[in-house]
Amino acid sequence: EAGVTQFPSHSVIEKGQTVTLRCDPISGHDNLYWYRRVMGKEIKFLLHFVKESKQDESGMPNNRFLAERTGGTYSTLKVQPAELEDSGVYFCASSRGREAVEKLFFGSGTQLSVL
């Protein structure tokens, strides 16, 4: 069974540019989460999808961030325009419906550097 896949693994962009991160969850997993770790600090929750619906987006920093999960399969996280403080590692995680956070499977993350 394939794990959670994130693409790209690294992205280096200039301030003001746009970047789109992609996450492919494990097949059959209804729950999809985005988390972020900035500058070696704690990993912080961004948002939670159940299938294609946003269940909780309370962790999204501001309106420069847009997450989508069309069709309830893969998800994208777009940052537009990127700012320096957006640099960090963006993790995606998925789980089956009933297990939610108890059995989360994480991807390897996308290292985003905004210069």
Partner: protein, 111 residues
């Protein structure tokens, strides 16, 4: 607001030694999790602790939970180099389907 604090944040130790990583959280929580991350890799689930007094062991790692003290420990016995990684604890806030993480403890084990 639920907060999770780990200490130490950095730990360098010799092979064969024992050490403990501490994880404190600020409010009542349902479950406590320990994850391991190798550089550039995904977070790997190590333990899920569900109740007061829970203790789980896997190889040289043992995790425990004291819900009254809001404290979990991850004990490393006779460390080996392969255990070098960053270890995170996390809790899930009551009623919310999301994890609140600590800052992580970067563990380096020297031969």
């Amino acid at each position: 607001e639920l907060k999770v604090e780990q200490n130490p944040l950095f730990l360098s130790m010799q092979e064969g030694k024992n050490y403990t990583i501490y994880c404190n959280y600020s409010t009542t929580s349902d479950r406590l999790y320990w994850y391991r991350q190798d550089p550039g890799k995904s977070l790997e689930s190590l333990f899920v602790l569900l109740s007061n007094g829970a203790v789980k062991q896997e190889g040289r790692l043992m995790a425990s939970l004291d819900t009254k003290a809001r404290l979990s420990t991850l004990h490393i016995t006779a460390a080996v180099h392969d255990l070098s990684a960053t270890y995170f604890c996390a809790v899930d806030s009551r009623g919310a389907q999301k994890l609140v993480f600590g800052q992580g403890t970067r563990l380096t084990i020297n031969p």
